[in-house]
C-alpha cells in the first residue's frame, strides 16, 4: 500500500493507522475561545463511513485468526447501524455475512445501508414497556442466535469485546498524539459501546496523565442513534471510569442544532452525535483559559436525514414543494 499516492490493492488497506490517520480539521467560526484550539477528527472519512471501522476491523481480524468466522460461519451482532455497516461490508468482501439485530427506531437510511452492504436484518421492537434489566432486546436476540447455532453464528459483541477498546488504543489514540505533536490537553468523545473513550483515553493518559478526557452524553429521553446516557451505560462492559475526568450531560436537542451549525458555518457535514460532542467541547472551551482539544466526529449527517427533518421541520418548509406533515 502507498498512503502518499493513495493507491490501494483493496479497501482494507485504507483502514486508519498512525501512518494513515483520519484528518483533524480545526473549528474556526464556531469556536467560542480563540485561545482554546478545537479540532474535529473526521471519522466519516474511514472507508466504510464511520469510527466503527476501527473496532469492527479489530474484532473481525481477531475472530478470523481464531477461526471463528469465515465462509459459512457468519457474524451476528446487535447494532444501531454503524458497526453493522462496517461488519456487513467487511464480511461481504471477505466471503461471509452479518446478521444485524437492530432496534426498530433506527433510521431507515441505516437499515437500507445495511441491506445494501449485504447484511441480513432482524428488526426488533425494543421499546414495548419499561422493564428492569436488559429485557429481551437486540443484545439478547443476538446471543440467542450465537448460543443456539454456534456453528453458524459468532457474536463479536461490541459491548463486551476488548478488541473494541484495543482498536482505539492502537489507532485513534496514537493518531491523535502524533497529529497534535503531543500537545493535546482535552479529548472529547461520546459514550456508546464506550470503546472509543476507554481505548483512546487509556492511550492518551499513558502518554500524558494530564490530558483531560471528557465524555459527552445526551440528556434523558434522547433520540441520538448509537449514544448512551448515564442511565443506559450499564449495557456496555467497556466503560472505564478511571480514564474519564468528566461526564457532561447535554440537552439532546442541541445535537441536531449543532449538527446544522457545523454544516452551515464550518462546512463540516457532521451527524448528530458529532453535534452533541461539539456542544460539550464548546462549553469546556468557553470556560477554559487555553488548550488544545480534539473531538471525535463519529460519522456524517447523510444517514440521519429523517432525524434532522424531525428536529428541524423548517428544512422541509424551505423549498421541498409538497411535503406531507402528517
Amino acid at each position: 500500500m502507498n498512503h502518499s499516492s493513495r493507491v490501494y490493492e483493496d479497501i482494507f488497506e485504507m483502514l486508519p493507522s498512525e501512518e494513515n490517520p483520519t484528518p483533524l480539521v480545526r473549528i474556526n467560526k464556531l469556536n467560542p475561545n480563540p485561545h482554546f484550539t478545537l479540532y474535529a477528527k473526521l471519522e466519516w472519512l474511514n472507508p466504510f463511513g464511520s469510527i466503527k471501522d476501527r473496532p469492527a476491523w479489530s474484532m473481525l481480524r481477531k475472530l478470523e485468526e481464531e477461526g471463528k468466522v469465515g465462509p459459512g460461519h457468519n457474524l451476528v451482532e446487535p447494532t444501531s447501524g454503524n458497526t453493522g455497516l462496517s461488519f456487513a461490508a467487511m464480511a461481504s468482501a471477505r466471503g461471509y455475512k452479518l446478521r444485524a439485530i437492530v432496534p426498530g427506531q433506527i433510521p431507515k437510511e441505516k437499515k437500507t445501508l445495511l441491506k445494501i452492504a449485504g447484511a441480513d436484518l432482524e428488526v426488533l421492537n425494543d421499546d414495548v414497556c419499561p422493564a428492569p434489566g436488559l429485557g429481551d432486546g437486540s443484545i439478547n436476540r443476538a446471543k440467542s442466535h450465537a448460543k443456539a447455532s454456534p456453528e453458524e453464528y459468532t457474536l463479536p459483541n461490541q459491548y463486551e469485546n476488548e478488541a473494541n477498546v484495543d482498536a482505539h488504543f492502537r489507532t485513534t489514540g496514537p493518531e491523535i498524539w502524533r497529529q497534535t505533536e503531543g500537545k493535546i490537553t482535552h479529548f472529547f468523545g461520546a459514550l456508546g459501546t464506550c470503546g472509543t473513550i476507554t481505548g483512546t483515553g487509556r492511550f492518551l493518559k499513558s502518554k500524558n496523565s494530564a490530558v483531560q478526557v471528557v465524555a459527552i452524553v445526551p440528556s434523558e429521553g434522547h433520540d441520538v442513534p448509537g449514544l448512551r446516557n448515564i442511565s443506559q451505560l450499564h449495557i456496555s462492559k467497556l466503560f472505564d471510569s478511571s480514564v474519564v475526568d468528566e461526564i457532561m450531560e447535554i440537552d439532546y436537542k442541541l445535537a441536531y442544532r449543532r449538527a446544522l451549525d457545523l454544516s452551515r458555518k464550518e462546512g463540516l457535514l457532521a451527524g448528530p452525535s458529532s453535534g452533541l460532542i461539539f456542544e460539550g467541547a464548546s462549553e469546556v472551551a468557553a470556560r477554559t483559559k487555553s488548550g488544545l482539544g480534539v473531538m471525535v466526529f463519529c460519522d456524517n449527517v447523510f444517514k440521519y436525514l429523517s432525524n434532522m427533518l424531525k428536529h428541524h421541520p423548517e428544512l422541509a418548509a424551505e423549498g421541498f414543494g409538497f411535503f406531507p406533515t402528517h
Binding site: D136, H145, A148
Partner: protein, 290 residues
C-alpha cells in the same frame, strides 16, 4: 422461593436443566415477539403463538375449551404432564398462558422463574433451533375456573362500588393518559386514562433485574403496604390486552396468596373503546390519535 404462598407454581433454572429430556415435563415457550423462539429455545420446547393459537381468530375472546384441548393435545401434552411455561418480556405471555391453562383446569402448570432472558444468560443452559418431534395425544380439559377471569360488567361494578382492588399494571404514562399504548403496538383504544378507582402498580415492580420475581417480603411491601392492595378484598388486574395483567394476577394470587384475584383480559383495549364508560384521565389525553 419458599416464602411465596404457593412456591410450587415456579420452577427455577436448575430444576429446568435437570428435567430436560424428561418425557413427563413439557416446556412451552410463549413470547410477545413470536420470532424469539426461532432464534433459539430450550431443547425440547414447543412454542405457542399468542396471536394465532391462544386467541379466538373471529370474535375477540380466548380460545374455547374445545380449541384449547386440540391445541394442547396436538402439542403432545397429556393431562398428567408437568407443563413449564417461559417466554420473553419477563414471562408476560407465559403468564397469560399460565392463566389460560389454569382457567381450563390443568393441574401441573409452572412458570420458569426469570423466563427466556434468564435461561439465555445462564452459561451452561443449552439453547437450540431444532424443532422437537411431537406426538399428538388426546387431551381433556379439567375443571374450568371461570372465577379467574373478570368480564366487563364485573369491572364496571367494581369501579362504581369501590369494593375491590382494581390494579392497573400498565406503565405510568398509560395510566396517566399521556399515551394510549406503548409505541409501535397495533392494539390500542380510542381513549386514554384509567378505570376510576384503579391503583397504578406497573407489572415491572414485581421483577428483579435478572427477570426473576422479587421475594415474597418485597412483593408484600410493594403491593400490600406501599400501594395499598387490601388482601382481604377481591382483586382485579388489568392492562392493555391482558398479558401484563396475567403477570400481576400470578403475583397476587400465587406469590402473595390473595384468595380472589381475577384477570380482566379485555383490559384497556376493551374499556378504552366503550361509549360512555367513566374514565379518569389526569393528563387530559383523550383522542385516539394522541
Amino acid at each position: 422461593m419458599s416464602n411465596y404462598s404457593h412456591p410450587e407454581v415456579l420452577v427455577d433454572i436448575a430444576w429446568a436443566k435437570s428435567n430436560l429430556g424428561n418425557p413427563k415435563v413439557k416446556f412451552v415457550e410463549i413470547d410477545v415477539d413470536t420470532s424469539s423462539y426461532d432464534s433459539g429455545h430450550i431443547p425440547g420446547a414447543i412454542a405457542f403463538n399468542w396471536r394465532t393459537q391462544l386467541q379466538n381468530q373471529v370474535s375477540r375472546d380466548i380460545i374455547s375449551k374445545d380449541a384449547f384441548e386440540k391445541l394442547v393435545g396436538g402439542a403432545g401434552i397429556a393431562n398428567g404432564d408437568t407443563v413449564v411455561l417461559y417466554g420473553d418480556n419477563n414471562n408476560w405471555f407465559a403468564a397469560y398462558g399460565f392463566w389460560l391453562f389454569k382457567l381450563y383446569g390443568h393441574e401441573k402448570i409452572h412458570l420458569l422463574n426469570g423466563g427466556r432472558v434468564k435461561w439465555l444468560n445462564e452459561p451452561d443452559a443449552p439453547l437450540t433451533k431444532d424443532l422437537p418431534k411431537v406426538t399428538p395425544v388426546k387431551y381433556t380439559a379439567g375443571n374450568e375456573h371461570k372465577e379467574f377471569r373478570a368480564l366487563l360488567p364485573e369491572v364496571l361494578e367494581a369501579s362504581s362500588k369501590k369494593d375491590r382492588n382494581l390494579v392497573d399494571v400498565r406503565s405510568p404514562d398509560e395510566f396517566s393518559g399521556k399515551i394510549i399504548a406503548p409505541p409501535n403496538l397495533p392494539e390500542t383504544a380510542q381513549r386514554a386514562g384509567h378505570i376510576p378507582g384503579a391503583k397504578s402498580i406497573p407489572w415491572s415492580t414485581a421483577v428483579n433485574q435478572d427477570g426473576t420475581f422479587k421475594s415474597a417480603d418485597d412483593l408484600g411491601k410493594i403491593y400490600l403496604q406501599e400501594k395499598g392492595v387490601d388482601a382481604k378484598k377481591a382483586s382485579i388486574a388489568y392492562c392493555r390486552i391482558g398479558e401484563r395483567s396475567s403477570h400481576t394476577w400470578f403475583v397476587l394470587k400465587y406469590l402473595l396468596g390473595i384468595a380472589d384475584v381475577k384477570n380482566y383480559d379485555g383490559s384497556w383495549t376493551e374499556y378504552g373503546n366503550l361509549i360512555g364508560a367513566p374514565i379518569e384521565n389526569p393528563t387530559g389525553g383523550s383522542s385516539g390519535t394522541k
